[in-house]
């Protein structure tokens, strides 16, 4: 598998010993030094890497264990992909309770990053829908983890970045659906100031809300974009488009990033202008709605050989309006950014994990091509805005955040360290724990 030992952002590069885990009943394979579970490698930075150490490749744990189509209770091994679950359960009227922007993540990864989706305001994050799971530690012990157990391992492992042990299997509760289609309404908004009331109004009667924003728009248009709000469609909507087949792909890595100053502004302007009407309604299949980028295989290659960095942060409600505007001004002034920049308001449901990222506020996510130097300076400027607003950067997306910022944003890190398996580590974890933050 090409993605082995690599993260989705293809930065940083690292070499590992790789040991496959394929039998959930077997002990962990022997390894020297430290190890880290590695599912499908869709974390962007180094939270799924363990440079110089071992990766325990868990994709081979890809068996279903039990599924009850009457109740939607699903138990499966931790290397099963959300997409593989959907293939089985959508025809039987069920859907994953929370889904990130790609279906190519393992269920173990979804738990370890306590992933969120467009329905966070309604459903919380992935951990809220996990009934129980088994954790296999390096000392050979196996723990059945349930929410609220006195050992605290459930809360440490949800959002625990794989550091507490290997999740061998998990049981989750699915969500009932009546068809594979989505009723989507896209509302155009002209500035960041319009986003917040639109988001608040949409959250009331839409299960899924998210906004695409033009990360290069400035001045009065700063933060303009398209707000997408959706619900699962009834059994038989008036239009029933078929699931598109995955046809496109990036077969090779171009020698330079295709996302650059020449392409970014025209794309964003055209994408925004494409919809002239204020509001447009349509019925679409769930796949292009939830996973637009899954339609292009290996899309991460378009950023060229040096890869890219994704930046996702959340700012608390009281600081969100000013803080997001400040972040957007920095980004648009830099001229860098990505085709896909998204803005979403989280709900107030408290995450279960000690180290979970989702928290009340507004989250912004976008990619930056790795140009070697200036992107790191830009991201450090963004860090300072996030620090000042008492926000947080998402570890699953990160490859360079300083330890000070991390420890401020995740104040329960000290409590968490007691749960970290003594033989487990990651590039991310060593970085935020060992290197003091560079103050400039």
């Amino acid at each position: 598998m090409a993605s082995r030992g690599q993260s989705w952002g293809r930065y940083p590069r690292a070499s590992h010993a790789i040991a496959g885990v394929t039998n959930r009943h077997a002990p962990l394979p022997a390894f020297e030094g430290t190890a880290l579970p590695h599912g499908n490698g869709r974390s962007y930075g180094d939270s799924c890497l363990n440079p110089g150490g071992t990766l325990l490749a868990t994709r081979g744990l890809d068996r279903f264990i039990a599924f009850d189509p009457a109740t939607g209770e699903l138990r499966c091994e931790a290397g099963v992909l959300l997409g593989e679950i959907l293939e089985q359960v959508v025809p039987q009227g069920w859907f994953v309770p929370v889904s990130p922007g790609t279906r190519h993540v393992t269920i173990g990864g979804a738990i370890a990053n306590d992933v969120h989706g467009k329905n966070h305001h309604a459903a919380g994050s992935f951990g809220h829908h996990v009934e129980c799971f088994e954790l296999l530690r390096s000392d050979g012990s196996r723990v059945l983890c349930r929410r609220g157990n006195p050992d605290g391992l459930f809360e440490a492992t949800v959002g625990g970045l794989g550091l507490t042990g290997v999740i061998t299997w998990a049981q989750i509760r699915l969500r009932r659906i009546h068809s594979p289609w989505m009723e989507v309404e896209t509302v155009r908004f002209g500035s960041l100031a319009e986003f917040f009331p639109l988001s608040a109004a949409s959250a009331v009667d839409h299960e899924y809300t998210v906004a695409w924003i033009d990360c290069l728009a400035r001045g009065a248009s700063l933060g303009r974009g398209l707000f997408m709000r959706a619900n699962h469609a009834p059994a038989c909507p008036e239009r029933r488009p078929a699931a598109p087949r995955e046809r496109l792909g990036m077969p090779v890595t171009p020698p330079f990033s295709l996302v650059n100053r020449l392409t970014l502004r025209p794309f964003n302007t055209l994408y925004y202008q494409r919809q002239q009407a204020t509001s447009r309604r349509e019925v679409v299949h769930y796949a292009p709605y939830f996973y637009p980028l899954d339609g292009i295989r290996d899309w991460n290659r378009m950023y060229g050989p040096r890869g890219f960095l994704q930046y996702q942060c959340v700012l608390p409600p009281d600081a969100a309006r000013d803080g997001i505007a400040e972040l957007m001004r920095e980004i648009s002034a830099s001229g860098s950014g990505s085709f896909l920049a998204v803005l979403k308001e989280f709900g107030t449901r408290e995450s279960l994990g000690l180290m979970s990222f989702p928290r009340p506020g507004t989250t912004l996510a976008l990619d930056f091509p790795n140009d070697g130097a200036s992107v790191f300076t830009l991201l450090e400027r963004l860090d300072r805005i996030v620090d000042a607003a008492n926000g947080a950067v998402y570890p699953a997306k990160d490859a360079r955040l300083g330890g000070d910022s991390f420890r401020r944003a995740f104040p329960r890190w000290e409590q968490f360290t007691a749960f970290v398996d003594p033989r487990f580590s990651s590039g991310f974890w060593r970085r935020v724990m060992e290197n003091p933050c560079k103050k400039s």
Partner: protein, 245 residues
């Protein structure tokens, strides 16, 4: 509904093939050494749509028990349409060169036990005048190579046996399929460096199901191994002996 018997069902290729049949709603009967892993695979196949799954723990070298296994499979599914023989080990060639006992044991697992199974199964399929006997042999059986000739000779025995069996059963309704995978990325080959020629178990499984459906005789999987092996078979021995493969 197809009734599928898989021997060596915990192998990666067999498991991937079983998933394709499960998705079609087939009934499956799985035999293998490790009962715990068979149960895990069985549960998975039920979720994936198999009409029924039964499992049977067996060491294929226990040839006395082959009849018990086949009786159980025929009884559980009310007959068998497709039999896939997929068990095997990848012996350590160096160790086999030092120990004739080990070489013979490996030959028994990969060659003799398979031939014994094929004989018994062929009689049953012949009696019902229908069905497919699909056996995973290997490109390694097409010519002996210094790096792997104990395994290769066992697979050669299997391929030759199947070729004769196919001729014998040609007029019957039974199809005999020899499957010759090349390099496949499975736990059996985890010690190898992987390159361009390597295929995934899922790719090979799709090839197996297609070859069974089309009643093919020999299937190189992926297809490009057919021309590669044609070249390798046609190298004169006086040259071949000097090549290190």
């Amino acid at each position: 509904m197809q009734k599928i018997l898989i021997i060596g069902a915990t192998s990666a290729i067999a498991e991937a093939t079983a998933r394709l049949y499960a998705a079609r709603g087939a009934a499956l009967f799985l035999a293998g050494r490790d009962a715990t892993r068979l149960d895990a695979i069985g549960a998975d196949l039920r979720v994936r749509g198999a009409a029924s799954v039964d499992v049977f723990a067996l060491d294929v070298n226990d040839i006395e028990r082959h009849t018990i296994l086949l009786d159980a499979a025929w009884e559980a599914m009310g007959g068998v349409d497709v039999t896939l023989i997929a068990h095997g080990t990848l012996p350590e060639q160096r160790a086999c060169e030092e120990s004739d006992g080990l070489a013979l044991r490996e030959f028994a697992t990969n060659g003799t036990s398979t031939i014994a199974l094929c004989g018994t199964i062929a009689r049953r399929l012949h009696a019902q005048d229908a069905g497919t006997l699909a056996v995973i042999s290997s490109v390694a059986g097409d010519r002996g190579r210094a790096s792997n000739y104990v395994y290769g000779s066992a697979k050669a025995a299997v391929s030759t046996y199947l070729s004769g069996l196919r001729q014998r059963l040609n007029a019957s309704g039974v199809n005999v399929l020899t499957i010759k995978p090349g390099f496949v990325d499975t736990p059996m080959t985890k010690a190898f460096k992987k390159g361009l020629l390597w295929a995934t178990p899922a790719q090979v499984a799709r090839g197996i199901v297609r070859a069974v459906d089309r009643r093919r005789s020999v299937a190189y999987l992926p297809w490009f191994w057919a021309p590669i092996m044609l070249v390798i078979r046609s190298i004169p021995e006086f040259i071949f002996r000097r090549i290190q493969l």
